[in-house]
């Protein structure tokens, strides 16, 4: 049993390093090479490490488009996730607390929101009608909408674990529904709020299709779009492309290091109860 533990573990560690770490090592090596060397696409150590120069250069390319893209992506992620959290916590809370005729209908639409692929061109048509096409507010609202269903499911499941007596105590103390929700319930939802924030922030930050359709144009581009532009514009600058990939991998990595538990908890919540 002892030896088996070591043998199987060691084999798994070696295999996982080859399968899962080499692609990331490749990104770092490419990001440290000169343009000529990087365009070979070979998995070799750079003869000359120019990782810092590449970093500086990638930030300056295209009138420092990447910096702007990072600002845009941050605004998009932060605002849309705040909207998602507040709106879907309100729905998940009432949906769990009140057993009404509306519940089956709302549950149906929540599931539909998870399954049905968004109709892209008609969404553009709606955004145009509202004057929100190609604008950050429009993109924020669309991202917030696409994240509602999953967040509602997480909140609904968690509200069930908060005893209803707490609500009643607050009501006896004279709290109205708004105060009850924002000062009593929402603070108690903190663990699931963190989960929703982290999981959805990664999803919005990494979303490519949304900005591709609804937020075209250079001044609004998000980090995922810069990656894509890099690939089409500067075919000979693979070093900068991979530096860009490296840069946009860092935010999810940092989130993962700090919020490992919340991410895992949020993504596996359906595994036990189905």
């Amino acid at each position: 049993m002892r030896t088996r533990k070591w043998v199987v573990g060691s084999v798994a560690i070696v295999v996982s390093a080859i399968v899962f770490l080499i692609p990331f090592a490749f990104i770092i090596l490419q990001a440290a090479k000169t343009p000529a060397e990087a365009s070979d696409l070979a998995f070799t150590l750079p003869t000359k490490w120019v990782i810092w120069q590449n970093f500086v250069e990638v930030l300056q390319t295209n009138n420092s488009q990447i910096l702007r893209a990072f600002v845009n992506s941050t605004i998009l992620t932060v605002v849309s996730v705040i909207i998602m959290v507040v709106f879907s916590a309100m729905v998940g809370y009432i949906l769990q607390r009140r057993r009404g005729r509306m519940n089956p209908v709302i549950n149906f639409f929540v599931l539909a929101g998870l399954i049905v692929p968004p109709a892209v061109v008609p969404t553009i048509w709606v955004l145009q009608g509202l004057g929100l096409f190609k604008t950050m507010p429009g993109m924020i609202l669309v991202e917030a909408t696409f994240g509602l269903s999953f967040s509602i499911l997480l909140f609904r499941a968690f509200v069930a674990t908060i005893p209803k007596e707490l609500d009643e105590a607050a009501l006896i103390d004279g709290a109205g529904p708004l105060r009850l929700f924002f000062t009593v319930v929402l603070p108690l939802l903190r663990p699931v709020v963190v989960t929703v924030i982290v999981v959805q922030a990664v999803a919005v930050f990494n979303d490519f299709t949304g900005p591709l359709y609804f937020l075209p144009g250079d001044e609004n581009s998000t980090v995922q779009l810069t990656l894509y532009n890099f690939q089409s514009l500067t075919l000979s600058q693979f070093n900068l492309l991979f530096m860009d990939i490296l840069l946009i991998t860092i935010p999810p990595l940092v989130l993962y290091i700090f919020f490992n538990k919340q991410i895992v908890g949020g993504l596996t919540s359906g595994a036990i109860k189905g």
């Binding site: 199987v8 573990g9 798994a12 899962f20 809370y93 008609p122 909408t145 990494n206 299709t209 359906g270």
Partner: protein, 307 residues
């Protein structure tokens, strides 16, 4: 709920008083639904319903003409559009099946007593969180037929490396394999949660009865992690059938249209200005996803009740 016989008269006595006070001021007002419903209606439900109309039109920047089912006829008659429909099904089922098998195997490995479990979990899961486009472009380089690492390694063993993304027969499956690489972590995680939730006594009892590992897997692990299996099937099918970014980053549907899926056709037709045809593609995708997901969800739910 529990002491109902004693509580009933009390409740009945208070009933009129309570219902009036509730009507005045429910602690759980329905208007809490309103902000979410407003967003959902405007940015999701309205476009979805509108798509059923626009799919029946010739629609450009300037005008909309009703043309009946012409878009759908075109979609299923033109080989390159029809191919995308078949490819969507292949891609969805290949990636889901592989994620279920590999995810379950990895989950069993990572819940068994071996060294380095924490490291292994982190490494298997991390790709889930990385940008799909970044992963796609990285593997596009690794799969380069002349300089890429994959073919280099194959050549060490004297194997001829194919053009992973340039061979029409391989391109779709190459992209699917990267999708599996990126997504297997979440399947693993879900299966692990399912396996950990199985009471240890079952395994101990089976071992005392002399059951081997295969027997334990067949009669305990597999049936008792069914909710996890259901979640993985549903999540990976929804993701696989709608997949767009990875394919777009790696092949753009090429070579030719051999790795096009419905989602990439939607984008190509949109770019070309054929909004009606693009929306018809959307409706096709909607029907494919719904017709596959609804029976599967039903079946999985029913089986769970039987247990």
């Amino acid at each position: 709920m529990s002491g109902s016989t004693i509580a009933t008269p009390l409740v009945e006595k208070r009933k009129p008083q309570r219902s009036t006070s509730r009507k005045m001021k429910s602690p759980y007002p329905s208007w809490f639904y309103v902000p979410a419903i407003a967003l959902y209606l405007v940015f999701f439900a309205l476009p979805t319903f509108a798509s059923f109309y626009f799919a029946l039109t010739r629609w450009s920047l300037f005008n909309v003409t009703f043309i009946g089912f012409d878009n759908f006829i075109q979609f299923f008659q033109e080989p390159q559009l029809y191919q995308s429909f078949i490819n969507t099904l292949i891609y969805g089922f290949v990636t889901s099946a592989a994620k279920i098998v590999l995810g379950l195997a990895l989950a069993m490995l990572l819940t068994s007593p071996i060294i380095g479990r924490g490291y292994l979990r982190a490494v298997v899961f991390f790709p889930v969180l990385v940008s799909t486009i970044g992963i796609g472009l990285t593997f596009k380089s690794l799969m380069n037929p002349f300089h890429g690492l994959i073919n280099l390694v194959l050549s060490w063993f004297g194997l001829p490396g194919p053009g992973w993304l340039t061979d029409p027969n391989l391109a779709l499956l190459s992209v699917a394999s990267v999708d599996i690489w990126k997504g297997v972590g979440i399947a693993t995680l879900i299966f692990m949660a399912g396996i950990v939730a199985i009471p240890q006594e079952y395994f101990e009892a089976a071992r005392v009865d002399g059951a081997g590992s295969w027997k334990i897997f067949r009669s305990i692990t597999l049936p008792l992690s069914r909710p996890a299996t259901g979640t993985v099937i549903i999540l990976s099918l929804i993701g696989g059938l709608r997949s767009f970014d990875l394919i777009w980053a790696m092949t753009r549907g090429g070579p030719g249209f051999t790795s096009d899926v419905v989602a990439s056709v939607i984008y190509k037709q949109y770019q070309a200005g054929f909004y009606g045809l693009s929306t018809a593609g959307n409706v096709v995708l909607f029907l494919v996803v719904t017709l596959i997901m609804v029976p599967i969800t039903r079946m999985l739910n029913r089986r769970e009740v039987d247990l």
